[in-house]
């Protein structure tokens, strides 16, 4: 037990990868074994992160459960891991969603072994980003996460998968080029990639220093935008978002769940972990620009979602809309850091990340459930399915309402906090974002109307097309998500307490 207790983070981080390697030696055709093995393996990090959550002391500022191992001594990079309230929330989200995504994939029959292995590798990649306290390690995991997702889309995706996977890969990598350069520059300047010491050194640079032949101000501005673009692509902010609908739509169901549930959070996490602490001055200076892009994402994302005829694309665009609120909160916090308003906005932004993880994963799964049965995502071919699949319909309405931000469910709490926090700081932008909130309602209702409501759909009611009700396994995937959605909606204090204390300590 002692070993476990002192190595929580490394265990959580590498267990999935280790399990994936073990899977290599399992028989290829035993689908049942492979599925259950992967599912079981993904539960281990979840249990461990629950233990971390329980043992985490929210009142203590700074990082906890820290571990550090020499990795690349010559350039001063080490495998430094640690969590605070912000990253722990994200770790919990990741370890929760991965088992659910794997459970959701039990219906996959094509090359189960590599499929499951990729998911486990993906989990390690995502967790690494949230735990890393070393910039280089951060970047390594940042890119590691891309590869499994690329193959998942490219190999198990639907019709237009080549285009989508390539777009996803190139877009994200293109975005992170600047990030890599900026990280290298920091490493060269300070001889270390360790985040904790960089926070200190980088911010204590006086303005009259000359770095690489340029003023500190110029260097920082360039580095700031390099970081911003990398994260903006990932979040995604308008106008860097067009990879998202393609990638989400073409990815297999479980892939979309994690893509929307966790991968998008990597970008927002980057803003919180790196940009706000490393570039407080620039974040304040360019907060207006960030807010503009965020509001554009909120408004255009909502309108674009409303304009879709493909169910999955509609849900995909909803992510653009929802993640916009995260960045709006971040921009507000950047402009007025240290105030109560900023703290409230950040609370909202971080909670919104978690909430969106729950509801978006749920929505994508539900789209997948119906796609698996009908092999179409075209909204025009649905309608009138409610009498055929009442349980599915109820679950879909519930999850949609969470996505819509209905008070009493989780989305409302976070959106309210963002709006409350951003309102006094970025009044006009917040007011404009209300237009997006209005149309969030429009596209959600459009989805429900086009899928469930209307006269009984005869095409899917009989014979070979007969639509079957959601299965027990599928309900089990949704049950934890729905329980959390409701719980956070009614009593958010348990999670917001951890977030709030981290926010107060950090910013």
């Amino acid at each position: 037990m002692n070993f476990i207790a002192s190595h929580y983070l490394t265990l959580i981080l590498f267990f999935p990868a280790l399990a994936a390697v073990i899977m290599l030696f399992l028989p290829r055709d035993e689908n049942k074994l492979l599925r259950w093995f992967a599912f079981g393996a993904s539960l281990v990090p979840f249990v461990l992160s629950l233990m971390v959550w329980v043992n985490f002391n929210a009142d203590q500022p700074g990082f906890q459960f820290e571990e550090s191992y020499v990795w690349y001594e010559a350039i001063g990079s080490s495998l430094h891991l640690g969590v605070d309230g912000l990253s722990l929330t994200m770790v919990l989200l990741t370890t929760l969603l991965t088992p659910l995504a794997i459970l959701a994939s039990f219906s996959i029959t094509d090359r189960v072994k590599p499929y499951m292995m990729l998911f486990l590798f993906l989990e390690t990649g995502m967790l690494g980003v949230f735990m890393a306290l070393d910039l280089l390690i951060f970047f390594v995991f940042w890119e590691v996460g891309l590869v499994p997702m690329y193959f998942l889309i490219n190999q198990w995706g639907s019709a237009n998968r080549d285009y989508a996977s390539l777009k996803f890969m190139i877009y994200t990598m293109g975005g992170s080029l600047g990030l890599l350069l900026a990280i290298q520059m920091l490493g060269v300047l300070f001889g270390t990639f360790d985040l904790v010491s960089l926070y200190r050194q980088w911010n204590s640079l006086t303005a009259d220093r000359v770095l690489l032949g340029m003023s500190v101000h110029t260097v920082k501005t360039i580095a700031f935008w390099a970081f911003v673009i990398a994260f903006a692509v990932k979040v995604p902010l308008w106008p860097f978002h067009t990879w998202l609908p393609d990638a989400h739509t073409e990815a297999p169901t479980a892939g979309s769940m994690l893509l929307a549930g966790v991968l998008l959070k990597l970008g927002a996490y980057g803003f919180l972990r790196l940009i706000l602490p490393l570039y407080p001055v620039e974040a304040k200076m360019f907060a207006g620009a960030l807010a503009f892009l965020a509001v554009a994402a909120i408004v255009f994302g909502a309108f674009a979602a409303y304009g879709q005829t493909d169910f999955k694309r509609l849900v995909a665009y909803s992510s653009v809309n929802h993640m916009g609120f995260v960045v709006l909160g971040i921009a507000a916090a950047g402009l007025a850091s240290g105030t109560t308003d900023a703290a409230i906005a950040l609370n909202g932004a971080i909670l919104q990340m978690f909430n969106h993880g729950l509801s978006a994963a749920g929505m994508f799964f539900l789209v997948g459930v119906i796609y698996e049965r009908t092999h179409t995502r075209n909204l025009e071919e649905f309608g009138g399915l409610f009498p055929l699949v009442p349980v599915y319909g109820g679950i879909l309405i519930f999850t949609s309402m969470a996505s819509l931000g209905l008070p009493g469910l989780n989305g409302f709490v976070s959106e309210f906090l963002v709006v409350r926090g951003a309102f006094p700081i970025l009044t006009v932008y917040t007011a404009i974002s209300m237009l997006g909130l209005l149309f969030t309602g429009a596209y959600i209702l459009k989805g429900i109307k086009k899928v469930l409501h209307g006269p009984v759909n005869e095409h899917w009611a009989h014979g070979e097309h007969k639509l079957t009700e959601i299965s027990t396994r599928e309900i089990l995937v949704m049950a934890p998500l729905m329980a959390l959605i409701l719980w956070i909606g009614i009593w958010p204090a348990w999670i917001l307490n951890v977030i709030n204390k981290a926010v107060v300590a950090l910013f």
Binding site: Y171, P239, H241, T242, P245, F300, F303, A304, A305, Y306, G307, Q308, T340, D341, A343, I344, N347, G384, F386, P387, P390, G394, I397, M401, L406, P407, G408, F412, V413, F416, L417, V419, R420, F423, P424, T430, A431, M434, L435, L437, L438, F439, G441, A442, L445, K446, K449, L452, H453, G454, P455, V456, P492, A493, L496, N497, N500, K501, V503, V504
Partner: protein, 718 residues
């Protein structure tokens, strides 16, 4: 149990009923409605206990029942939520709990509990009737609603939302209840989702109210920021109100208090269906009738007015008692205009429920206008009396429709619209209980003098408007009141009086006790509730019963409102508009048989002043174009992806150039192939000397030896 604990518990039974029915008992209709009605009864009981304890407390306004707890950590502090029952809360709780309970009970009968399953009924459509054989004869009887259990679940959730709203001590949970009701109205209006009209109406209701809600959300955020709290009693301290009243905003010269009040008021405009966001409410008639009563009387629309009542101190900050502030003028204008505007439409409607829908909009306008001119108690009074008689009227109309549907099943002619009043007539003999209760409700709505509750509350609003010199509001409301009485009598005449105009009406039948009992209970309150608020100076009746209502509800405000001096002008006006309207309504319609004979079927009124068409043209169509064409097709697929694809193409093009003009010719052909070619050429040309004869090799070696030797000798030694 302490009263505070009891207040916390009031909203719980309906929500538990919702979860129980959804998760466990939905297969059993009997169990589901038992749970639903039982939960409503429990909440009603708890509300009554709280109400009677509340009226026993002296100075409840200063010392209300309240209790709160920390909900959201925000930086260093917490956002608290809690419950509060002050006089106005108690008064509202009283009528809400009664109407909700009655509606639950009524739904049992309305959805034909105990009847057989329909022959062709499917979930999502209203039941079409079942064929039964009795004594060897087949006939069609009403069939039970296929989604019976679900209906009670939704009602439970709805009731939860309303109770939450009423007992809230803060704007946030009020908003939570508000939005939950919004969802429920969406679900219930679209209850028969198989009908395209119902599903469109549901979306229209949700979206229209959401327009108001987003403004309200902004108002809440503003208020929370400006005061650091959302609890009513913390906001409405003199100090806070003073700060809010003196802080100026750049918008229309409004003070912060005024701006916040207006932002919140826009939420009410949506929820209480005031012009210009009134369009959803008539369409909401697509839902089952108990829903209409729930939405239009007991709960949702009242919630909008209730929110303004709650925010009254904010709205009237800086109000000196005479000159309306900007915010108040806006509220008064919207209310008065809506009251008249909706009444003009109601005159031309033929659907029995739609008439009531427009009359609801109009009556809510009365309340809003009353609040706008600062007549706080009058507004609360009218809110409550209206809730009773309007719930009565809606349930009554549902009973009429039910009776008519019976007739339709009997004749088998499904072409006859059981909601069209021109298909009715003479129902007073067929459905006596419904008739008498409907008559009471209708007279209360018209403000029939002395007897009905509606007279007292409407009269108080008119008296207040007159007494404080708001003549424009007074005249508008008086005209609206006249039209109210007129269209109400038109409705009663067309429906109940005269002779049956169709075979279906001839075969209409009185409804079961579960439907008529609520009508009787509500009729009781539609009469008696007015007596608790008779002004003291009223001729003859004043002072017989103490004006309890004014004392009690007025106590909510920090400044107890003065009782108004009696004036004969508004009283005569009230009498004239009520009696005159009723008389002319009867006179004009007593002999009308077909819509063609109806002089008020004016196209512009019939088509509701073309607001639906205008909104469609101005907002709905552009929104489609903007999202489908502009954002999706042009911006995302065209411009942004276009740039990306161009980027890809340029890269490809550069790659091609490098390949075709450098890699291929220079590297491949020149260096690569060139080196190979050269080597090959040398090799080929050297082949002749590779003869395989040792003598020749020696000869060659000798020659080279001599040549190299000579060269070395020459270079090194010479």
């Amino acid at each position: 149990m302490t009263t505070e604990t009891l207040i916390w518990l009031i909203p719980l039974p309906p929500i538990l009923a919702f979860f129980l029915i959804v998760l466990f008992t939905n297969k059993s209709k009997a169990l589901s409605h038992t749970i639903g009605v039982g939960a409503a009864a429990l909440s009603w009981l708890a509300s009554m206990v709280v109400f009677f304890r509340a009226i026993g407390v002296e100075h409840l306004g200063e010392h209300p029942f309240e209790s709160s707890l920390n909900w959201l950590p925000t930086g260093d502090t917490f956002l608290k939520i809690g419950v509060l029952i002050d006089p106005v809360g108690a008064a509202v709780l009283f009528f809400v709990s009664i109407t909700i309970f009655m509606i639950f009970l009524y739904s049992v009968g309305y959805h034909n509990f105990g009847q057989p399953k329909g022959d062709h009924d499917v979930a999502g459509l209203p039941p079409h009737g079942a064929t039964v054989e009795e004594h060897g004869r087949k006939h069609v009887v009403p069939s039970i609603e296929p989604m019976y259990s679900r209906f009670f679940a939704f009602l439970g959730l709805f009731a939860f939302g309303m109770y939450t709203l009423v007992v809230s001590d803060n704007l946030l949970t009020l908003f939570v209840g508000w939005e939950i009701m919004g969802l429920c109205s969406y679900l219930l209006i679209g209850f028969w989702y198989g009908k395209p009209s119902a599903r469109n109406a549901a979306i229209k209701a949700f979206m229209t109210t959401r327009v108001g809600d987003v403004f309200m959300l902004l108002g809440i955020a503003f208020l929370y920021w400006a005061t650091g709290t959302l609890s009513f009693r913390e906001i409405f301290t003199e100090e806070t109100l003073h700060i809010l009243g003196t802080t100026m905003t750049p918008i229309f010269g409004l003070s912060a208090a005024g701006l916040i009040a207006l932002l919140l008021f826009i939420g009410t405009v949506g929820k209480s269906a005031q012009w210009p966001l009134h369009v959803w409410l008539p369409d909401a008639m697509e839902g089952p009738t108990p829903v209409s009563a729930m939405i239009h009387a007991a709960t949702m629309v009242s919630a909008g007015v209730y929110a303004v009542i709650r925010m009254f101190p904010l709205l009237t900050t800086d109000f000196n008692g005479h000159e309306l502030t900007t915010a108040m003028s806006v509220v008064a204008f919207i209310g008065a205009f809506t009251a008249l505007f909706a009444a003009t439409i109601a005159v031309a409607q033929n659907d029995i429920k739609r008439v009531l829908a427009y009359s609801t909009i109009s009556q809510l306008g009365f309340m809003i206008a009353a609040l706008g001119i600062g007549a706080y108690v009058a507004a609360v009074f009218h809110l409550i009396t209206h809730a009773f008689f309007k719930a009565l009227l809606f349930l009554g109309s549902g009973s009429v429709i039910h009776g008519m549907e019976h007739g339709v099943l009997h004749t088998g002619n499904h072409e006859t619209d059981p909601q069209n009043m021109f298909n009715m007539g003479g129902l007073r003999n067929k459905m006596p209980i419904t008739f008498w209760t409907f008559l009471i409700g209708g007279f209360a709505l018209s403000g029939f003098p002395i007897l009905t509750a509606g007279f007292w509350s409407k009269d108080e609003i008119l008296a207040d408007a007159f007494g404080h010199g708001h003549m424009a509001v007074f005249i508008t409301l008086a005209v609206a009141a006249f039209m109210t009485a007129f269209y109400t009598m038109r409705q009663i005449t067309l429906t109940f009086l005269g002779e049956p105009r169709t075979k279906e009406a001839e075969h209409a039948q009185e409804t079961p006790w579960t439907m008529t009992a609520p009508l009787v209970v509500l009729a009781f309150f539609a009469v008696t509730y007015g007596w608790v608020g008779i002004p003291e100076h009223f001729p003859l009746f004043g002072g017989l019963v103490p004006n309890w209502f004014h004392e009690f509800v007025g106590g909510t405000l920090a400044e107890h409102p003065e009782a108004l001096e009696f004036n004969v002008v508004p009283l005569l006006t009230s009498l004239f508009v009520a009696l005159g309207g009723l008389f002319f309504g009867w006179l004009a319609y007593r002999n009308v048989q077909t819509p063609a004979e109806d002089k008020f079927q004016i196209p512009v009124l019939k088509n509701k002043w073309y607001f639906d068409e205008a909104y469609d043209f101005l907002f709905v169509k552009p929104a489609y174009w903007f999202s489908e064409t502009f954002v999706s097709a042009w911006m995302d697929k065209g411009v942004i992806d276009g740039i990306l694809h161009t980027f890809g193409k340029v890269t490809q093009f550069l790659g091609d150039i490098i390949r075709n003009y450098f890699d291929l010719p220079v590297i491949n052909r020149f260096f690569g192939d060139g080196t190979a070619d050269a080597t090959q050429w040398v090799g080929r040309n050297l082949r002749p000397i590779q003869t395989g004869r040792v003598q020749q090799y020696f000869m060659l070696a000798l020659v080279i030896f001599i040549v190299v030797g000579a060269a070395l000798y020459y270079l090194l030694l010479a």
